[in-house]
Amino acid sequence: MKTSNRKLAGPGLAIILFGIVYAAVTGFISNSYYQLIMTVVPVWAVMGLSWNLLSGYSGLVSFGHAAFFGLGAYFVALAQIHWGLTPWIGIPLAGVLGGIAGLVVGLPTFRLRGHYFALAMLAYPLALLYVFEWLGYQELTLPMQREAPMLAMQFADHRVHAFLALALMLGAMALTSRLERARFGLSLVAIKQDEAAAEAAGINTLAWKLKAITLSGAMAGAIGGFYAVVLLVVTPPAVFGMLVSAQALIVAMFGGVGTVWGPVIGAVVLVPLSEILHARLGNVIPGIQGVVYGIAIVAVILLAPEGVFWKMKDLLFRRATKSVPTPPAAAAVPLPITARPDHAGKSVILELRNVSKAFGGLKAVQDVSFDVANGEILGIIGPNGAGKTTLFNLLNGFIVPDQGEVRFEGRDIVGDKPYRICTAGVGRTFQVVRPFRRMTVEQNVIAGAFVHAASDDAARATAREALVEVGLDRHAQRLAGGLTNKELRLLELARALAGRPKLLLLDETLAGLGGGDVEEVIAVVRKLAAKGITIVIIEHTMPAMVRLVDRFIVLDHGAVLATGLPAEVTRNEAVIDAYLGKRWRAESA
């Protein structure tokens, strides 16, 4: 996925060229059977694009796209039979119906992930299949409209159907390619790679998934309606059957997901292959189509799980990952302890009152209360298992406390979704870094910048600023998966920063860094604090912490053991016993 500024030139031109070639080929075909194939190829390409729009970008595999397809097909057929509604209106309405069905299915089903989601999706079309059989629609035949064939889309020349199908496909391609390079695509891809991190970066994951399934359902519903007009006969197994959902998934995965070309390539290769084999061998081998699709998907999973498009792209362009040489780390000059302003008596940005959380019998956080002053750097220390990360998860909304209050700028945020808390101004990083590994550094940060950005361009500008701030701007185009530990830590900082936080929660940002790298990251953290961002940091590296923070809170067994200035806390006997240890006492004595 490119995020270059050439918005339409590349893919738009390619799509138009492809359309012209396809139309030209169709124009020369006189055999009505091949004309039908030319019509069916775009139908399955659109189904693949519909599947790709949800599953390809978001990673939630749907086994049930037949539900939308079948509803669209039955709607157009029944509306024509009972109300005499022309498909010219029926098909757009089928799209609306498919979109609504998508929303209705998505709302409950997005509670699920992984294979639970896939299997639950499978149940919808199969349940509908039996319902439509029970309703007595075992076989609906669209009546021939001799007086007004145009109005009923019943053309004598079947090439017209092929042209219409092509137009629908080009429309679906244009829509997909517009969406994939905009906020939509980036947000869904972020969700696919790490849903929790996306939510913490301010992406309203449920809303994006619902948008995706609504659009996806609309595409499938409309093309299902068109399919009914082309075939003139609708039966429950033909439109709600497993093969419909499977074909959508298979053309998309065969061609390659996450790209507008994947489903088209899949359909162009697999549909004619299975249709022609079916025509030649169908009477000897009745299930040949299903066998072709089955073998195709088995082969893709085993040989090229990324799909034909990406495999070809890799082979043709050998995308050499341009590795920018990492500049030598700045000489490790320990920063002097600059005098920090005194925050006592300043306004409070975050208040915790009697916050508790238990997991079964384990009281991870017990009755914790403290305030964070505007602009201060607060360090949270304590032994492993003291509840530090759980505390952060309570603060940014990953988990909801059993009791207690969390007030951010005076407003109670308990029960708010993580993306809302992020939007309110709380950014965070993770103990174990959670970048979107398959995205570039820049895309990672842009994903975090959408929170307050009015447009894609504004997001890009904010992201650039954040990258400059942490010193990663030269690595903007590298893939996040290839970064060093220090760069990943800085990337997370930049992503959090792009959301324009007032409060940053840093979870062991210095973990695993060498001496020089620690100084570099600390310098960035200080710079942010100097800009007025309040910082709460969890860290074990005591020498660094003592120099960095204004105040400490010590947690032990989920409860606050001590609070105070670094000098006080590090001499507190209880803190030394619980956390710092005897060596600390010996060294500092």
Binding site: V61, L119, A123, L126, A127, W134, G294
Partner: protein, 319 residues
């Protein structure tokens, strides 16, 4: 409908539900074994079941098993023959295909290969069911036994008002299913094989360090898993007509049962399957016959949405 008539219908559906449910329970145990040991969702499980049905069908016809065991019991012997045949088929499918995206090789893939496994087994399912159409033909077939058309009458009870008919064929099938589940539980609990399977399920890495061949354990689990389900299919074959596409319906039946029982728990899977059998039969009291399967799908959706850890399972992540 009088109260007595309703009671009769209810008891009739209840007994039918328990008998079908026992066989569903056996099928669910097979699926659950595969998930429990390998963490693989086998989408093709229903199609292995279908293969089991046809193996039983041909074994019954070809070997004339009825000469040896008498016409009444022959279909059940045929169902048991499906076990070893499908076991070998399962070993091959695992070795050639599934092992490439599961186990140690799976953990190197995106999201530990779960999507790859799901989609690979979807492909296998398509090939088996459509290939089955070619090999077996599309006309529904069934195994007939004198038992499947005779019933015991319980009653008349409550004066002369209520009497229930219990199909003899289904009863024998249910008894065999329960015995098979008990035998399997004993095997898992007592034998060395069972221990190595459980170890591989519990912690594959630690199992490797203990000298357990985890890859072999996975292969065996897959083989046993599809074989157990195939025996269940063979037992069903004597009371229901079937065709090559039958597997798909039972994939949902089986997953509903397994999820209800808590993914990965063998005992849970059996009771989950039993419950689904009851739901299916009892739904006929209020719904038209054609909507039996819709009732199961709706129950399945309700379970995964409200209680994905199952009725008997521990809390687990929904991923």
């Amino acid at each position: 409908m009088s109260a007595a008539q309703f009671a009769e219908n209810f008891l009739q559906a209840l007994s039918a539900g328990l008998l079908t449910g026992a066989v569903y329970g056996l099928m669910c145990v097979g699926l659950s074994l595969i998930f429990g040991v390998m963490r693989v969702i086998n989408f093709a499980q229903g199609d292995f079941m279908m293969l089991g049905m046809y193996v039983a069908y041909y074994a019954f016809g070809l070997f004339g098993a009825h000469l040896l065991f008498g016409a009444a019991l022959a279909p059940y012997v045929a169902a048991l023959i499906a076990g070893p045949v499908i076991f070998i088929a399962g070993l091959l499918v695992h070795k050639l295909l599934v092992s490439r995206v599961s186990g140690m090789r799976g953990s190197a893939l995106e999201s530990e290969g779960h999507y790859a496994q799901l989609i690979l087994t979807l492909g296998i399912a398509l090939v088996i069911q459509n290939g089955g159409l070619w090999v077996f033909g599309s006309a529904p077939v069934s195994i007939t036994t004198p038992l499947s058309s005779s019933a015991w009458e319980i009653g008349p009870l409550h004066g002369d008002l209520i009497s229930i008919f219990v199909n003899q064929g289904q009863t024998v099938a249910a008894v065999i299913a329960v015995l098979a589940v008990l035998g399997f539980v004993l095997l898992m609990g007592r034998s060395r094989l069972g221990k190595s399977l459980r170890a591989a399920a519990d912690n594959p890495e630690a199992a490797i360090y203990m000298g357990i061949d985890v890859d072999r354990a996975h292969r065996l689990a897959f083989g046993f898993g599809v074989a157990i389900t195939a025996i269940g299919g063979g037992l069903l074959a004597s009371s229901y007509p079937f065709q090559p596409y039958v597997g798909l319906e039972y994939v949902i039946v089986m997953y509903a049962g397994v999820v209800l029982g808590g993914l990965g728990s063998v005992a849970g899977a059996f009771f989950g399957g039993l419950t689904i059998g009851l739901v299916q039969q009892l739904s006929t009291l209020v719904l038209p016959n054609q909507l039996q399967n819709t009732a199961i799908f709706v129950v399945f959706l309700v379970i995964v949405l409200l209680r994905p850890q199952g009725l008997f399972g521990r809390a687990a992540r929904r991923t």
